[in-house]
Symmetry: C2
Subunit: 224 residues, 2 copies
């Protein structure tokens, strides 16, 4: 017997809760693999259906379109990171330590954490890095935001901003810096892999220590 956590997300993200059926869990599992493999624009429900031995129409019963599926995956990811952070910072009082743990959680967590059977968190992390920005750079962003479809990210940013303010109550931009930490982490991992002239860090064997070091360095200077 094993205990599986189910991450619950805003139900506007899907037509039918995919985590509650085998087919739905397969959609999650294989879409992560295929989006990573093809990239989001080349990925289609048809390819996904073929991979899963199912049909396009069946997938459309769970998600309105591939954009919603991406939004679902990204929210899932941030919700999972939130969960890791809440576990790992439990009983930690020093806000500086908390912030260190937070940074470690979203930079390196996917590597050393077990997780959920139908989700490969490490590949999902790749997707968030490579495709995540597409989830909110659309013309529908205002409408989706009003329905709470970015809730997971916003609530995480809120949590982190509080810790930032604990570290230094005088710091003027706690929210901006919270989101910056996430964006910098994702961006510089991406840059290191694809546009190395845009960053100072490098990545060997999928080890993100340099990214973590950089975020700690900047945090220290900014919140001193």
């Amino acid at each position: 017997m094993s205990v599986e956590i189910k991450i619950s997300l805003n139900d506007g993200l899907y037509l039918k809760e995919p985590q509650d059926s085998k087919l739905g869990r397969n959609i999650i599992k294989y879409s992560i693999i295929l989006i990573d493999e093809f990239g989001f624009e080349v990925f289609t429900f048809k390819k996904l259906a073929e991979k899963m031995n199912s049909t396009e129409a069946s997938i459309y019963r769970y998600f309105e379109n591939k954009h919603m599926l991406l939004l679902f995956l990204v929210n899932w990811y941030w919700e999972w990171v939130s969960y890791l952070i809440s576990i790992n910072t439990m009983n930690v009082v020093d806000p500086n330590k908390k912030l260190k743990i937070i940074i470690h959680s979203f930079v390196s967590a996917p590597k050393d954490n077990p997780g959920i059977s139908y989700v490969n968190e490490s590949i999902l992390h790749n997707i968030v890095i490579s495709e995540g920005v597409k989830a909110y750079h659309t013309k529908q962003v205002d409408n989706e935001n009003s329905k709470g479809l970015f809730g997971s990210y916003k609530s995480l940013a809120n949590t982190v901003s509080k810790v930032i303010s604990e570290v230094n109550p005088e710091f003027k931009y706690p929210f901006a810096f919270a989101t910056n930490l996430f964006e910098m982490s994702n961006n510089h991992i991406y840059f290191a892999k694809h546009l190395p002239r845009l960053t100072d860090i490098s990545i060997k064997n999928d080890d993100f220590v340099e990214v973590e070091d950089m975020l700690h360095y900047m945090t220290k200077k900014l919140l001193a």
Copy 2:
């Protein structure tokens, strides 16, 4: 008689130099308007052709596809910002002042600069903010990068990183911070407009002072 600067870009970005013909300049002019209006994924060459009273096929003679057109526009923007920076920092020696001018140039420049007749720089700035990340978050990034199609951005980042190192030679991450300045600027303008809970700044009447202030504040702390 008027003097128009022509921005020259890597010729891998287009099939035929669009700045050299009326039709080509129209493609630039109207694609900026339409991408801003519809968003990049809904924008098509067919719509553009209709708007311009031309045909799809004619546009395909200039650009391989809409992705290349976006890449062209984004490069054009960064090249133009580089040009503004080089003019405005001419004869400035104090690196702190230089950095201030640089920040002002890419945050607020589109507003108070004349520019080129067939390019609405202010709308183009919007596109860079809303759609710019899609130019390099693709599966072809490595291939395109090897052809120098991100050259304008990289060379700008390089310029700025040098100024950062002048301000503080001990600072460990000059490249990362240079790109951060651009990314933060774009992100937080976008957040302020669409996801305000992710930032601390707000924007009234298209005035980006708060963004500039934030970037100055962070720069000061980081490079102190």
